[in-house]
């Protein structure tokens, strides 16, 4: 990663706890720090319960972070009020694409109203003609037929609905999009369509993505850098090729060894690596840069072995 790259998001010691002070307190995100550079795709992988979705939702301020800072273009957004001009401005700059294209579109709204909701909230179009024109543009951008703008979500397939979700996110011209498992509810042949579309739009508009997923082969394909989360912590972060070719953390190794590969020869000979939670975590560990651009959650002694 080049030094002169501009940081669009800086997460510093972010903590997101739930049920604080109660017996069922959950440390969903427990002191994580990372940066996202302008124009890149930052992949966040982990299994269910690892805190990856919570991290995304904290960054876009669907939650109020328990502790820590989130800087967006240098400005601390972790404490701005949830209703107010600052938040409204911020909401235009950062958008989200959700996992379930069936649950994330209001079934009683027409597609054009779903897509234009952000335009209306921010007063981005002058009149209804202008509004329709923009919706048509957006539908065209996601390869849907603009003629279908007066239809309802149930008239579309899963892949098409996810395109509507993407058009909605793009409507307000954001700089940064968090995509939370955007393809995991889709069929294999449709997944590739949506991923290709997201990449084309990124190139066109100069967007930055945070791509949250559990499908490691797709994450590797789409991401420039990848962070691996486990138990509320980032255990490893590096360029995506580096993570795959030289994983350092035993959890990353175990995760990689479990990905099924569509090749019988590889499957027959594969060795799965088991991960032992107890022996991998102890006091005094933190995420630190052990090789250039390669961060590992470990203690200082272990970090010194890479020097």
């Amino acid at each position: 990663m080049a030094e002169d790259k501009q940081k669009i998001v800086q997460v510093k010691h972010l903590k997101q706890y739930f049920n604080i002070g109660k017996p069922n307190e959950v440390k969903a995100v427990d002191d994580i720090s990372f940066d996202i550079y302008k124009g890149e795709t930052f992949g966040l992988v982990g299994e269910s319960g690892s805190g990856k979705s919570t991290t995304g939702r904290s960054i876009i301020r669907l939650y109020d972070p328990t502790d820590g800072q989130i800087l967006f273009n240098g400005q601390d957004i972790s404490k701005i009020k949830s209703h107010g001009p600052q938040m409204k401005k911020f909401r235009r700059e950062m958008q989200m694409i959700f996992q379930d294209p069936y649950a994330s579109l209001n079934p009683r709204m027409k597609v054009k109203d779903i897509i234009a909701e952000g335009l209306d909230v921010h007063g981005l179009t002058k009149n209804s003609e202008d509004r329709d024109k923009r919706v048509r543009e957006l539908l065209d951008m996601v390869h849907l037929n603009p003629e279908h703008m007066t239809r309802y979500p149930y008239e579309f397939s899963g892949g098409q609905r996810q395109r509507i979700g993407i058009a909605r996110a793009l409507a307000v011209d954001p700089e940064f999009i968090i995509a939370d498992e955007p393809i995991s509810a889709l069929d294999v042949s449709i997944q590739a369509q949506v991923v290709n579309l997201m990449q084309d739009i990124q190139k066109d508009q100069g967007l930055t993505y945070m791509f949250i997923a559990h499908d490691l082969s797709m994450v590797k394909y789409i991401s420039d850098r990848i962070a691996v989360m486990y138990n509320g912590k980032i255990v490893e972060l590096a360029d995506s090729d580096e993570i795959y070719n030289h994983p350092l953390h035993s959890y990353t190794k175990s995760l990689l060894s479990a990905i099924p590969v569509p090749d019988p020869e590889i499957e027959k000979t594969r060795q799965r690596i088991d991960f032992d939670h107890k022996s991998s975590f102890h006091e005094g560990q933190k995420l630190q840069e052990v090789l250039p651009g390669h961060f590992l959650y470990c203690d200082d002694k272990k970090a010194a072995t890479f020097k």
């Binding site: 294999v188 590739a192 099924p260 090749d263």
Partner: protein, 347 residues
């Protein structure tokens, strides 16, 4: 090999408000003792309906209007409800996709695992519970004796799926149908469950019909693979034949649209354009033709028959007709072909 199940010319229709959906349009396959057959396809392709027809677990508006399902030579479709009850969960059992909803939340897991034995074998309750404990140990539930008295919510997703498997195998079925058994699970847990199924298969010798949309999982578990599209099988063969010598453009598309770990970000993923056809009005010709860049005029007019590729490998595509022009498959598929050649040379 000994064929225990033969499905012949199966047709299933669903009556809906919009008309008749032709969900299964002539499916043929057989299953030999102890083997694993994987059926791959996208949602709506009919893979679940196919296996649910075997156990007659279809919705009320379903109509199996043609075909036979022979189990040891006897047509299951002609069995009475009572006769089917004796087979279901006993000789042929099923594992469902979602471990969160396929267990009874108000019943201890020990009782749930023992239930099929009590229903089918008329063993004593004590014996049944003893067997349940044994099977729970077999599927890897720690301290089964104590945990028998726990309820489903006290277990994780992976453990629940192990319990669902325990219920399915407690009677040592001859055929185990697994309908997307790992789709709801994390990759590391998925790997454990697949290893477990393979291990159990060796121990109790059951044949498995494994349904999934994940080709990676198929490569790891199947002996034979059938690819399904729009209510029909489009290609079937041994696992090596399907992965290294695929012939149908839909199989090519499926294999090619998944990124492998050495796919570069520079090259676009090869996606299959469009969406599957609506089976209210199935197309006249090859159902895949509108999405198939290799489609010819005849694909739009007439459904392709199965062409023989080898003794075990068949594909329904006009490209295999002797008069068809030679086409160049996608690059990723050509790589697979060269691997197939190497395999052949080694044998």
């Amino acid at each position: 090999m000994d064929k225990i199940l033969e499905v012949k010319n199966l047709h299933v229709n669903f009556a809906t408000y919009n008309g008749t959906v032709q969900a299964i349009r002539g499916v043929n396959f057989d299953l030999s003792a102890g083997e694993t057959l994987a059926i791959v396809g996208e949602s709506g392709s009919g893979k679940s309906i196919t296996v649910r027809s075997i156990l007659q677990l279809l919705a009320k508006n379903a109509d199996i209007n043609k075909g036979t399902i022979l189990y040891h030579g006897e047509d299951l479709l002609k069995k009475s409800k009572k006769e089917m009850d004796a087979i279901r969960g006993n000789k042929i059992s099923m594992i469902f996709q979602d471990p969160m909803t396929s267990l009874d939340p108000t019943m201890t897991i020990g009782k749930q695992v023992a239930e099929p034995l009590l229903i089918h074998n008329k063993v004593s309750k004590k014996e049944a519970l003893g067997r349940a404990e044994e099977v729970l140990r077999l599927v890897g539930i720690p301290n089964p004796k104590e945990r028998m008295n726990d309820y489903p919510h006290q277990f994780s997703g992976g453990q629940r799926q192990r319990i669902v498997i325990a219920i399915a195998i407690v009677d040592y079925p001859e055929i185990l149908i697994a309908d997307e058994p790992t789709t709801a699970l994390d990759v590391t847990v998925q790997a454990q469950i697949i290893d477990l199924l393979k291990e159990l298969q060796q121990k109790i010798g059951t044949a498995i019909i494994f349904i999934t949309h994940d080709l990676g999982v198929v490569a790891g578990i199947a002996d034979r693979v059938a690819v399904m599209y729009a209510g029909k099988f489009v290609e079937y063969g041994s696992v090596d034949e399907i992965f290294y010598n695929p012939q149908h453009p839909y199989t090519w598309g499926l294999l090619d649209s998944m990124p492998t770990l050495d796919t570069n970000e520079e090259d676009h993923l090869n996606s299959i354009p469009g969406t599957p056809p609506n089976l209210l009005n199935p197309p006249k010709g090859d159902a895949f033709a509108p999405r198939n860049k290799y489609a010819m005029q005849i694909d739009l007019e007439e459904q392709p028959p199965f062409f023989k590729v080898s003794k075990t490998h068949y594909a329904a595509t006009w490209l295999l007709h002797p008069d068809a022009p030679k086409v160049t498959p996608p690059k990723g598929i050509q790589k697979r072909f060269s691997k197939f050649k190497k395999l052949g040379d080694n044998e």
